[in-house]
């Protein structure tokens, strides 16, 4: 008997530990519940996406009796959202069945084996041919398979306040042709309309990818071809004048105090500040920003309803550095719905993607979310075309829009660019020093696969 006791205790302990770990991890959940992870705006008042996802989820439940959709809104800054879903997707116990992926990260996650190819489903799906080829390419891995269904894209340009422009004596149909003209307008505002921030360009680590895409790459892509990645040699580019000039532009904006106060510009909340305070309170004259900005001012679900904005705001394309053809620059991005590899219910998840992308729901999203349509039938829909003032302008930028190098290593390159921007903006480094530091970091990120360009 005595000998048995320790064995019994040990067994009990192991069993206890076993059950505990099993409990701790949670089981895969029941077969009929779909878990959907998506980002929730850091501003609680902005519920555009939450409302839309909720709407579609309830419709899905109604159409599929017995099935449940569990929403997992993740309220975090952009970069924290990515890290969070990546961690969730690593284990079958925590993986959602459907996840909202930024195209900026999708290739990295595909390479990490976190996502499931959707080709078997797409092949049988009639609606797929409605999608623009560029949008389809956004979610394609290097293995040629497609890992997500895009629900919209976006373009970028300059938003300007016509009332402030009038006070400064600047034209109402402003369209700068070079960087210098942008800076000149900002300087005029600074001189003639005190108390107003002349120009916002997102910068630094706080704004994350927003700074790199809306800020830096809008500049860099206007300085010449293939300044970041050279597709011919399949190598990343170092040492370009364009890179230094782009940093120099930031240096000018923040050095001459044409931009927001540096501590605000570097704060992680700057995007929310611009959209819900600086713009609607008319404290900002020019903003280099995305096509979706209007969703913040929607009467329903917007963070800051602002009925007058269609008359107050003007839009201009962002010019190339010295006005070289085609004269304007825009970048396109967007998000996709993807199914994690560890999802236990991929078939059901696909069904929900189909529900998201019925034409009716797709129009609904493009209208609510101020998205640029990626489906031809949506783009032609009158409800879409009338949805937001300026939607025609931003849709027009699609044809000149460029894409970020869709490679797994891109998010790290982007982080390095953010650091270079931050160093210049905070005055910790000169543009040249920051560019050199970037070159060094780049070499280690891409394992030396770099090519120097003058």
């Amino acid at each position: 008997m005595r000998r048995i006791a320790p064995m019994a205790l040990l067994t009990a302990a192991v069993l206890a530990a076993g059950t505990l770990t099993a409990c701790g991890g949670g089981s895969g959940g029941d077969k009929n519940t779909l878990k959907v992870a998506f980002p929730k705006d850091t501003n609680n008042k902005v519920t555009v996406r939450d409302d839309y996802v909720e709407l579609v989820a309830r419709a899905f439940e109604k159409a599929n009796p017995g099935k449940k959709v569990k929403l997992i809104p993740i309220q975090a800054s952009e970069n924290d959202y990515y890290a969070k879903i990546q961690q969730m997707m690593r284990s079958p116990k925590t993986a959602p069945d459907l996840v909202y992926e930024d195209t900026f990260l999708i290739n990295s996650d595909i390479a990490a084996g976190l996502l499931r190819p959707l080709d078997p489903y797409l092949g049988k799906w009639a609606d797929w041919k409605q999608f623009e080829p560029a949008a389809k390419a956004a979610a394609r891995g290097q293995d040629g398979r497609t890992y997500g269904v895009p629900d919209g894209t976006d373009t970028r340009g300059l938003w300007f306040n016509k009332k402030i422009f009038k006070k400064a004596g600047l034209p109402q149909d402003w369209q700068p042709k070079t960087w210098d003209e942008v800076l000149a307008a900002a300087r005029t505002v600074k001189r003639k309309v005190p108390g107003v921030i002349p120009l916002n360009v997102y910068t630094g680590k706080g704004a994350g990818e927003a700074a790199v895409m809306q800020g830096f790459e809008m500049l860099l892509y206007g300085t010449g071809k293939d300044q970041l990645y050279d597709p011919a040699t399949k190598k990343w580019v170092t040492g370009t004048k364009g890179f230094r000039d782009s940093l120099e532009f930031l240096h000018t904006v923040y050095g001459e105090k044409l931009g927001p106060d540096v501590s605000d510009a570097l704060s992680p909340n700057i995007q929310t500040n611009v959209a819900t305070e600086l713009m609607p309170e008319e404290k900002l004259a020019i903003d280099l920003d995305g096509s979706w900005l209007g969703q913040q001012w929607q009467p329903k679900g917007g963070g800051k309803p602002w009925p007058e904005w269609p008359t107050v705001l003007g839009r201009a394309a962002f010019p190339t550095q010295h006005g070289a053809a085609p004269g304007k620059v825009s970048l396109a991005g967007g998000w996709t719905w993807s199914v994690p590899r560890q999802s236990q219910r991929p078939d059901l998840a696909w069904k929900l993607i189909e529900t998201f992308q019925t034409k009716h729901n797709a129009v609904e999203w493009c209208v609510r979310g101020a998205q640029i349509a990626v489906r031809k039938d949506v783009a032609a829909d009158p409800a879409y075309l009338k949805s937001l003032p300026g939607i025609g302008f931003f849709t027009g930028l699609v044809k000149i829009s460029q894409f970020r190098p869709a490679l797994p290593v891109y998010p790290k390159v982007s982080a390095a660019i953010g650091e270079a921007m931050e160093a210049v903006t905070s005055g910790d480094a000169s543009p040249k020093q920051a560019a050199d530091a970037y070159d060094e970091q780049l070499k280690s990120i891409v394992d030396g696969r770099t090519v120097a360009k003058p």
């Binding site: 320790p6 530990a17 990295s108 996650d109 390479a111 501590s263 797994p408 982080a415 910790d428």
Partner: protein, 306 residues
Amino acid sequence: MSRAAATGAYGTAGSVARPRRRARALLRWSPLAPATILLLLFLAGPIGYCVYIAFTDMQLTGQESTSFVGLANFRRAFGDPAFLNAVVLTLVFTLVSSILGQNTLGLALAALMRRASRPVRTLTGAVVLTAWVLPEIVAGFLLYTFFERRGTLNAILDQLHLPSQNWLFTLPILAVSFANVWRGTAFSMLIYSAALAEIPQEVTESAEVDGASGRQRLWHITLPMIRRSIGTNLMLNTLQTLSVFGLIWAMTRGGPGSRSQTLPVFMYDQAFLKSLIGYGTAVALLLLVVGALFSVVYLRLLREEV
């Protein structure tokens, strides 16, 4: 069978007695077995896994396979100016906020409160303790609004017609150090209050009779007598301060640039924002080493007899 009998039997029937003794030893340990197993499973297991990851190139995203890279992560850390910057800032943060700030202020408060009247003591105690029981992240946001450009501190300075400063921007590491002092002083105060209460009244009184000044009494009587508490307090404070993350993250996110990026923030940045789990974990291990070094110093301090 008694212990003596078992020993006596050793010579003649050793082959029987030994397994029996072993069984008894095992039996004596058996009540601890579940706890030990749980500890191994939930504490040692993850730590061991972390150590393993630190020697691999594991990533959160971007690559599927993970391979063993030996000491590469550690070599990389020592060649990385950002890591060295983080080490320096961590030392500054620890020195200023823990050793100088929390520790000294805690002792001063404890000493003052012994003399203070009851209402003052209660009020001070309550205020200091409130700061301590607040969750780190809440304290972080509170102090963010205090130091922020349009925050409370600048409003006060404005009222006094003093120049306002953008504290989180110009002196980020001092701002977060101050925040940590604000938050963590209560702990030291409690420890020192207990220690001071232990000093026998007669000793102080006789020193006073011998004509020792206040400073002499502090230096020659009080401090030596509470030396052990100082050591314990310094060790706990330091270890706590070394791992502060939420406070700094909420206030500055390690910025601007990397001017308040201490090791835990740097680690998070590398592991989760740059997805380099392997490298981030190696940095975490190095942070553990820094903590261990501090502990060794304090333990020596504790061991030496006066």
